[in-house]
């Protein structure tokens, strides 16, 4: 990946709060990342880490109230998406920026045939006539390798298998040649053999279109297979970011290291698992200081009070938010 390419999507210091009658919850707290053309960036985090809320904020899909974007910018080739009016944001959505959701069955319209749903993208956004739009829809289904596309265009979402439905979702996201596609757990609902097909398809389509792909997931395996760079989130904050190989070989944050030590791996038969103690905190009660300190084997008293800075460890841009980042990064995973 060329380091010199200008960022396509650059998110800086994003903060999202939910204000409810029972108090304010800070779901995303100072998230920054940048995504370049043709690049896949993974946003890795567990439930409650704020990864999906962050994506919805960029997409303009959060309802205010209760959600409030209190700080930050999200620049798509320089245009700040967060400063757009809801109408302008809607115009960007689908055309320059689109999203693939986890559950295609609820994301697709059940009473419109798949061909009609895809064709609608072209009649509404490109002003094509019905016939021309339907032809484009079939071509698109072909492109995401749906067999017998012309015939299947008349089918409804429930008539497709889970894997084929996810292909329809991908077709929908790619219909208008967006610059950035955000995929939120695109394969979590799928079986492993179908997951492998879908991730390969996304990689192939990315190579064809040079789109930037933001992959939101909790799955360390999917990230390792697909991502060029990784940003790890914990309790609404960025704890580490690096290119994928560096992150897996020499993580610079005890949380990332803990995740890698705790997943059973097919290539390490019989290796004991070293779990992280405790559970991720709910966004309503994030610990002070470093949010990971109650679960951290390396924690010292100051971790409970001082929030670590997010600093650079290597010339390749490996960054970590841990007081002992250099020390943690020094030890390879083994």
């Amino acid at each position: 990946m060329s380091q010199a390419a200008p960022p396509l999507l650059e998110v800086e210091d994003l903060c999202v709060e939910f204000r409810t009658t029972r108090g304010t919850i800070r779901a995303v707290n100072g998230l920054s990342y940048s995504l370049r053309e043709g690049e896949t960036l993974a946003l890795l985090g567990e439930s409650g880490s704020g990864k999906s809320v962050a994506a919805q904020a960029v997409m303009g899909l959060l309802d205010t109230p209760p959600a409030h974007i209190t700080r930050g910018t999200a620049r798509l080739r320089g245009d700040d998406l967060l400063a757009l009016s809801p109408e302008r944001h809607r115009a960007v959505r689908g055309t320059r920026l689109s999203m693939i959701f986890q559950d295609a069955l609820t994301a697709l319209n059940p009473v419109l045939s798949v061909g009609d749903q895809l064709a609608e993208m072209y009649t509404v956004h490109r002003g094509l006539g019905r016939k021309a739009a339907l032809a484009r829809a079939v071509a698109l289904m072909d492109r995401v390798r749906i067999p017998a596309a012309a015939r299947r265009a008349h089918d409804y979402p429930h008539q497709f298998s889970g894997g084929m439905r996810q292909r329809v979702m991908i077709a929908m996201a790619l219909a208008l040649d967006p610059e950035v596609v955000i995929a939120d757990e695109p394969t979590t609902a799928l079986d492993v053999t179908v997951q492998a097909q879908i991730m390969r398809l996304l990689r192939q389509l990315q190579a064809e279109t040079r789109m930037g792909l933001l992959l939101i997931t909790h799955d360390l395996g999917v990230v390792a297979e697909t991502a060029d760079r990784v940003t790890v989130m914990y309790a609404g904050r960025t704890v580490e970011s690096a290119n994928a190989e560096d992150l897996y070989a020499r993580p610079g944050h005890p949380y990332t290291r803990g995740l890698l030590d705790s997943v059973p791996r097919l290539d390490r038969l019989g290796k004991p698992l070293v779990p992280i103690t405790g559970s991720p905190p709910p966004p309503s009660s994030v610990p002070t200081g470093c949010a990971f300190h109650p679960r951290c084997p390396r924690a010292e008293p100051r971790c409970g009070t001082d929030e670590p800075s997010f600093r650079t460890l290597t010339p390749t841009g490996h960054r970590s938010a841990c007081h002992f980042a250099e020390e943690v990064h020094h030890v390879p995973v083994g």
Binding site: S161, D191, A196, R200, L220, E245, P264, I276, S279
Partner: protein
């Protein structure tokens, strides 16, 4: 495994087990138009203190198999024996006594615990159903012991499920399953609802428990890595049948069925340096419908090695054995 365990009769045995669900049409005059063959001729055994993993994708029938093995559902044909007894031939009280020996841990710790019962009540409930298990006076102490066994604080016994995290709730489910000192624990996707950082805690707990209590386990999962990590033997299921079974080492080092090998190839390894090349062979398509399984070998529609014989000739019924049997007409020889 000790020699005595080898020779002892198996704790759990399934023979030619099938479960077909009728498919009907019409409202008033229901006509039977077919059957979903969820479990279609399965043989397996679980010996004492042994862990058997059953791995397969959604729709392969693994959860139907679980309810048959636990005698929660009647097979269409075939038999299940638990500790040498046929659960379906027993009277109510006899069946209840048998059930003490086999317990279950469910997938979703959010829906499998009664939200209006305290932790202590949940873990102690089995004693209400089996009053003979522990004398009334000792039950409080036993509940505290159980909570401690699964790594929960016994002073939290008056808390309700919503006051526990997902991992802690799954521990509660495990404590409840252990209350009657079963000999076999069947775990149906025990960690797939949990956060990544919490899964390892529960997997290690199950591993410790089965060793310390000499428990036999059946672990049902879609996750090959989880099954490989915990199990002595592994059975791979596809569309209602077991297609290959063997020891963990046999299945992992030399998978002989193309489906097993495809499962390994598709499972992502968390190491970017071991990324599969983009031209690696992948399975095409999805699982066919178990209501209309393909003729011959059921895997042939997705099998990269299928030959004419696979289309016409049904595969052999896999008898459970130690010689790494596979249901493939042309089993693969070495890992390629």
């Amino acid at each position: 495994m000790s020699p005595s365990a080898e020779t002892a009769p198996p704790l759990l045995r399934a023979t030619a087990l099938t479960r077909h669900f009728p498919v009907t049409e019409g409202v008033l005059l229901k006509r039977r138009t077919g059957a979903v063959r969820a479990v279609d001729g399965i043989d397996l055994t679980v010996r004492r203190a042994e862990t058997l993993g059953i791995v397969g994708e959604s729709g392969c029938g693994k959860s139907t198999l679980a309810s048959l093995l636990m005698a929660l559902d009647r097979p269409t044909s075939g038999t299940v024996t638990i500790d040498g007894q046929n659960p379906f031939a027993l009277s109510g009280p006899e069946l209840r006594a048998l059930r003490r020996r086999v317990q279950m841990v469910l997938q979703d710790p959010y829906t499998s615990l009664d939200p209006r019962m305290t932790a202590g009540q949940i873990v102690g409930e089995p004693f209400a159903i089996h009053p003979g298990a522990v004398p009334r006076a000792d039950r409080g102490r036993r509940v505290a012991e159980l909570l401690e066994t699964v790594g929960l604080d016994p002073t939290h016994r008056d808390r309700y499920p919503h006051q526990f995290s997902g991992g802690q709730r799954q521990r509660l489910g495990i404590a409840r399953a252990l209350a009657l000192e079963p000999r076999l624990l069947l775990c149906d996707e025990p960690v797939s609802a949990l956060d990544v950082s919490v899964q390892a805690q529960v997997l290690n707990l199950l591993d410790d428990l089965r060793r310390e209590l000499r428990l036999a386990c059946v672990l049902i999962s879609h996750d090959l890595a989880v099954v490989q990590h915990l199990c002595d033997r592994i059975a791979v299921m596809y569309l209602g049948k077991i297609v290959e079974t063997g020891t963990r080492e046999q299945i992992c080092a030399t998978p002989r069925h193309p489906y097993t090998r495809a499962l390994f190839a598709a499972a992502p390894v968390p190491d970017p340096r071991r990324r599969a090349p983009d031209d690696a062979l992948l399975l095409e398509g999805d699982l066919p419908s178990p209501a209309a399984p393909p003729s011959g070998c059921r895997f042939r529609t997705r099998c990269p090695y299928a030959r004419p014989q696979c289309l016409t000739e049904p595969t052999l019924r896999l008898r459970d054995g130690t010689d790494h049997p596979t249901a493939c007409h042309f089993p693969l020889e070495s890992t390629g």
